[in-house]
Amino acid sequence: MDSRNPQQPKDTPLLELRGIEKSFFGVRVLKGVDVRVDAAQIVGLVGENGAGKSTLMNILGGNLQPDRGVMLLNEEPFEPRHPTDAKRLGIAFVHQELNLFPNLSIAENIFLTSFPRAGGPFIARRQLHVKAAELLREVGLEISPIALVEDLSAGERQLVEIARALSVSPRLIILDEPTTSLSTRETATLFALMNRLRERGLAMIYISHILGDVLRLCDEIVVLRDGEVVGNGLRAEFTAERMISLMVGRELDQLYPHRTRPDQTTENSKAAALLEVRGITQPHIVRDVSFTLNRGEVLGISGLMGAGRSELARILFGLDPYESGEILRSA
């Protein structure tokens, strides 16, 4: 990619983690994790919630220190004490919850701790905007760098985060669930960008629950379960089914054991209604939503992002108003 990173022979990894262990209050969260990342490679990291993905990445990003184990970056010991250490050595982190400042401009967000200076404590604004515009072009975002981040959509903000990661000329970018709040089109833009970055020699660690994306995008896949690596190999060795069974530690057909609803046979369902929602409507938010929740039931509400799921829940809890409809609760 650049002069700092000459053609690496494939047998020397860019990053190597060996036997990483971490405990919180006596609970072993990571039990000796080995991971290897090569240049120009996207490694997918999958696992259930609590498997240790975030802890591992926080150690890599300098937010946490491991109890035991070594990290090697280009075969040199790598021991970041703070996120800025990791950044300086070329490891950038794009967090799931965006770490942007909506009250600052795009350019200021990108260069918050590395402003080009015009002598002393002053910011060279023209240079700042030129450099920011370059990075925005790289990530394919055609917006003025002077624009405030608060005026951007979720997808645009994600691209600004990546522009910020690129501003430190990284060798490795960690992306933690970057597509959570993106639309399909924004996700496609992000993946195209990631492929371009890989062609330039950058390594990436991609964390996602969307296994289809991981299979489509990644060269290698690492599966974590309960703080241990339970699967590690080339993409071709994996299918979504195999990843799931590794993640949960059971065969797929045992994933959803059949349960019988308690009390269902003994009680009249009409009498057991705990919550009844009739035609809840709030303009532009939800329209004519009705359902009944019975005793002993778990009621799932599904839908796309923005379909009104959370808004409906807020209305049920009295946090938001509704225009018409009824919410009935049994005593």
Partner: protein
């Protein structure tokens, strides 16, 4: 994100844009002036303008210091006590009656430097307690207000100090000295806030200090410095006020606290942090002074003026809360 949630958000943003307009308060000033001038004798006279200006300058300097602290999502209630203490310290150094440097030609510059140093020290104390001890700014500065104010009275046994040098008194009644001093403070503060690293970091810290820390912003130093700036501003205002009063007094400026915070908030600086500008604060100071002055000219009683000013500040704080809510919903 989707068609269902967008139409609801748009009008809210437009609504917010009107309130967020930079020149809203300036417009209100002009409107207020034009509306009251025909009915208030002497409001539009030349003598009254210079009267407004001379009382506006120290308030403006104080409000600039308050703006810097409010941007970090803090508050400085100790400013008025700092005025009193620095006034007393200045008087003790330079008074011709029994000052330490009585009738010495260096008395005046040394006194002013001593005032600034004392102001900075009070700010440092506040900043230390807020950052290192992690105490809430409200409690910290409330207690330093009492402590510093009491200390000023104790130092002087509750007496005013007269006999200040002529060269010092000139700063108070000569507009050509006070005006450039205030303008310099305003310009330095404006450039610092909008074009220096420290300034941009203030906004980042004020929006989210945790995120700022993770991004590598030296949060402790930045926040602490904001209180030092505020203390120095209080000392500078004290120079103007002491010279204008012609005596150093341990109760100087004791009625100004609500004016300072009120003017800053009227200008549009947010009590929630992350937002504020020197220009906005100027508009806020101007508006509050116009109200103050016009009601005085109409011979309204002190409590009437307080009711009006309190009401205006309350409305400004309510608008701030409203703007903040709209911003949270928008994102």
């Amino acid at each position: 994100m989707t068609a269902t949630s967008d139409p609801g958000a748009r009008p809210a943003n437009k609504f917010a844009a009107v309130f967020a307009s930079e020149y809203l308060v300036l417009g209100l000033c002009v409107f207020y002036f034009l509306a009251f001038a025909p009915f208030t004798e002497g409001f539009a006279s030349r003598g009254n303008f210079s009267n407004i200006l001379i009382t506006l300058l120290p308030l403006f300097i104080l409000a600039i210091g308050q703006t810097v602290v409010l941007i970090t999502a803090g508050i400085d209630l100790s400013m008025t006590s700092t005025i009193a203490l620095t006034s007393v310290v200045g008087g003790m150094v330079m008074s011709g009656e029994n000052g330490w440097l009585s009738n010495n030609p260096t008395a005046m510059p040394v006194a002013i430097i001593a005032m600034l140093v004392v102001g900075a020290l009070v700010g440092l104390l506040n900043g230390f307690a807020v950052t290192v001890l992690r105490m809430p700014a409200f409690i910290v500065t409330l207690t330093t207000m009492m402590f510093v104010g009491g200390f000023a009275v104790w130092l002087t046994k509750s007496k005013n100090i007269g006999g200040l040098p002529e060269s010092f008194l000139a700063i108070g009644n000569q507009l050509w000295l006070a005006l450039p001093l205030t303008l310099t403070v305003a310009i330095v503060a404006h450039v610092m806030l909008s074009r220096s690293l420290f300034g941009r970091w203030l906004y980042a810290v004020g929006h989210n200090s945790r995120t700022a820390y993770v991004s590598g912003v030296p949060v402790t130093g930045v926040t602490c410095s904001a209180y030092v700036v505020s203390g120095v501003c209080a000392a500078l205002a004290s120079v103007l006020l002491t010279a204008d009063a012609q005596t150093a007094s341990p109760v100087l400026g004791r009625n100004m606290l609500l004016d300072v915070i009120g003017a800053t908030v009227i200008g549009g600086t947010s009590l929630f942090g992350g937002k504020g500008k020197v220009l906005w604060t100027f508009f806020g100071v101007l508006f509050l002074k116009l109200i103050d002055n016009s009601l005085n000219l109409r011979n309204l009683a002190d409590w009437d003026i307080r009711i009006v000013k309190g009401g205006v500040i309350l409305v400004a704080a309510m608008l701030d809360a409203l703007r903040n809510r709209l911003a949270v919903r928008g994102s």
